[in-house]
Symmetry: D2
Amino acid sequence: MPVSCIAKPGIVGQAGTARLLATCQDRPGIVSAVSGFLYRHGVNITHSDQHSTDPEGGRFFLRQEFYLSGLENCLGDLENEFEREVAGEYKMQWRLVPAKRKKRMVILVSRLDHALMDLLWRVGRGEMPAEIPLVISNHPDLRPQVESFGVAFHHVHVPEAHDAPRGRGLSLPEERMLEIMGAEGPIDLVVLARYMRILSPAFVKRFPQRIINIHHSFLPAFEGADPYRRAAERGVKLIGATAHYVTGKLDKGPIIEQDVIRVSHRHRLDEFKILGRDIERQVLSRAVRWHLEDRVLVDGNKTIVFA
Amino acid sequence: MPVSCIAKPGIVGQAGTARLLATCQDRPGIVSAVSGFLYRHGVNITHSDQHSTDPEGGRFFLRQEFYLSGLENCLGDLENEFEREVAGEYKMQWRLVPAKRKKRMVILVSRLDHALMDLLWRVGRGEMPAEIPLVISNHPDLRPQVESFGVAFHHVHVPEAHDAPRGRGLSLPEERMLEIMGAEGPIDLVVLARYMRILSPAFVKRFPQRIINIHHSFLPAFEGADPYRRAAERGVKLIGATAHYVTGKLDKGPIIEQDVIRVSHRHRLDEFKILGRDIERQVLSRAVRWHLEDRVLVDGNKTIVFA
Amino acid sequence: MPVSCIAKPGIVGQAGTARLLATCQDRPGIVSAVSGFLYRHGVNITHSDQHSTDPEGGRFFLRQEFYLSGLENCLGDLENEFEREVAGEYKMQWRLVPAKRKKRMVILVSRLDHALMDLLWRVGRGEMPAEIPLVISNHPDLRPQVESFGVAFHHVHVPEAHDAPRGRGLSLPEERMLEIMGAEGPIDLVVLARYMRILSPAFVKRFPQRIINIHHSFLPAFEGADPYRRAAERGVKLIGATAHYVTGKLDKGPIIEQDVIRVSHRHRLDEFKILGRDIERQVLSRAVRWHLEDRVLVDGNKTIVFA
Amino acid sequence: MPVSCIAKPGIVGQAGTARLLATCQDRPGIVSAVSGFLYRHGVNITHSDQHSTDPEGGRFFLRQEFYLSGLENCLGDLENEFEREVAGEYKMQWRLVPAKRKKRMVILVSRLDHALMDLLWRVGRGEMPAEIPLVISNHPDLRPQVESFGVAFHHVHVPEAHDAPRGRGLSLPEERMLEIMGAEGPIDLVVLARYMRILSPAFVKRFPQRIINIHHSFLPAFEGADPYRRAAERGVKLIGATAHYVTGKLDKGPIIEQDVIRVSHRHRLDEFKILGRDIERQVLSRAVRWHLEDRVLVDGNKTIVFA
């Protein structure tokens, strides 16, 4: 067993920290194989989470945070050896992510600024390991707010009645958005921070499990348009928000996070919206942070969140 | 203005305490008229809640708790004078309820005991102003538990495939239930404490705004059967429960109270059910207590809860 | 009874909306007297809240929102007549506040920006009825962020070891702060948005029940310095924040609002701080909004919040 | 390596399920050593949680659930081999617990029944893996309720002014309690379900990390007597409950679980108590269930809860 990448004594820190994400059919011995491999390479596991969807015949999910001195110099070797020694045997889907590599996140927004601002604040403050190369909006309104953070703002007009040619291709505005994004280099995550247009399946397919939307209801209640109005009409006593990965089916993708806030007969629709904003931005921020920290794994139409 | 019923000096207490519930079209002067009337009759208002659904052209709702020494001797007079002096003018729907009069509550249940036990226990320890003359179940299982509280238990078999002849009349088991209840005198409230049969519209009409059901989901999500299973399949991150008045439309009646509890990928369906029970019994108990204390007013398909 | 101020037909709106706040010893007839007075003046009460601390011999608190066409022209008359016809009789402390008059709020802050940004942003988007003439900080760091909202920023250095001469007078930095604030006209509210210096009793006395502080713990747990560290050391499972009026006694003033968030053994101190920020800004924002809308009444060392 | 205990093909189920709990100084290789050991013995790990208090020089905690066919026949061998092959090397404190072995739990209670009833209900319903051989109370009141569950009830009078001779020995009532408990065989857990007497250090020492108390406040706020009264006097906006292990220092032991509920100026002290009961029983039930399922590990004066 050629071990090309062995830890030297060092300080645990962001620099040498990485995350291993893996999933495969569950069977005995996986944890032993993975942790044995890491141990032989001098890796110190600092956090570990695992989940099996069923004790018999289920699917196995693993997330480990570990520290390896000199990681940056031997990441490629470690990956090759992991594939050869462990992953192949178990038919794993897996990836190794150095913690210091910040994900690149594009935000799409319309006119409401609360979810956008919250993300910009948090990234600016270092609460979230991300870079925001640009923000795209179908309205010009939020340009000054975005630019005050030193982030590029692009306005791409999207006609109200725009219906992307479903199942066939990108709409023209989407082509324009991809062009803008492409000019900035690779994009790890697209966040819809109250973006009020529906993306075409063709666009969504470009970013599998990498588009997060905030829907302003407690899904599956009030899928679709105008959830606060419908919540007010139904007379619910709690209103909610849901962050989910976007798939081809509107508001049906895997849910990452949800939360609610209490309302009463005293709250009118405009107060539902004000109260709801607070929940929306919190739920979205939590979901985005978990995604950025590689804590969210997708299992069919559900998520496993190692928070 | 003949004032037949005037307070003598006395101690504020349960005996002389009453609640005034009133609703009418909103217009200026209602509060002045009501509180002036009560003041002239020597009534001391101890709590007051009001709500207008719209500052212009809305509907007005009022709940006042007050104390009147010797109330029991002059309730009839007070009612007559209120109708003549105030309610007629404003076309009010209203009622006066002495606080010491406990409501009579029948509980319908199937096999799960958690919601039932919580109600029996709270009534027994005086947390809820109610009498429970009897419990009816479509299964015999819970007889010993109910009888240990000194409450009569009746088993009325309801065939699984029983479909009450919708819109036309009572089913045979429902006739039997009404017969049992009728023998006990007037019933103020019917509580469905996880009663797993659907009541016919004809039965529901007998108890308008007087049947409270606990549904084991956060309505309007997961109306109908098996909500926990469907919640698990959808991968929600919170599960909930909803207490509502029963109307002719399944799970569509006015919501009184809702609450939720957090779940994760680690919880299996049976754990959803265990966690859900805690929320169900709390939500139902709150809704029932509010109803018993005349805190719930119905406005179309919504409730106003003066909690 | 000369009624100088009578409503003409008009549209209910912000312009003619006002709030009546009143407190006195409880006794029968207060609501009748107040609502009768308002009715005779053509006022339409749109919301009303009242509270009595004890049904016998307690203190009575009232908040009413009402609409009066042409309010701006007759406010003085209405006040004079209310004092003469109602308030004198009941020895009320009271005030009438036109809703359109925005309160003027100064924010004191140190280095942490989350609570400050949330207030600036909410005021900017109209969620809170306030004007912010200026922000004062004992550090220069947040100047650009504040000025990007078009708000004046003043840096007043306050020595770390500064101990205001307790009970005797203002410290020099406090004198400077009052000078800056005085130049801006009357100040209705001072908000300590994570301001890390202790104000002298002499300063506090200038703003009775008009200084709101956010303390980063669930008071009375962890009064004083470093609450997150102490919470982490104690191993609590929830961390909280408390907004309260500042009095001469550190962290002992009347509590306006509190909330908590769940933590676990997995969270380190720096994560307590990040999670705590979210609760701090929410709790502070709610408390400030309630104060701005005249929803908070003080009863000894407690608050009555008509939210 | 003699492997005496190897899995045969079998069905995963309660019968062959066990939990490994282990703690030691953190260093690389622990997970690899443990999981390698279990794999060689044919064990299928179904859940695994680990925690390190610090990535460098911290303490390591592990909880694994696993399945082993024929476990009951080879548990002793497995334990011996684990000690020899793994635990000795890492100086682990550890234990192996078959899941089907129900813990034996004694409940101490005074007059309030809510926490007691909740535990009796949950155990009766199979929500908690425990046996309750007996309940002891310093009052005779709850005998009928306890006996209706088929559980033995013992009344041991404890004088009000009883102060156990601190630091020296057991009080007479405590000797009597130990005698009663001893007659029933080994006791795994003592639950103080609103038991209103203070236990002596000598008594507490008999059950290290095996006495759980519910305190009716959000600790460390309102340690000691009468927390609800003091919470009402302080004017808090949330009241809470805390379940913790009992140590020699009153209300200072490791916290297992906490929760809160919202109150307002409208709630009087008696309503604080009613609302508080709901939180008390939930918090205690969660803590007890986690203990029964070996999910709580103690780290100094804190807990690690693998829930």
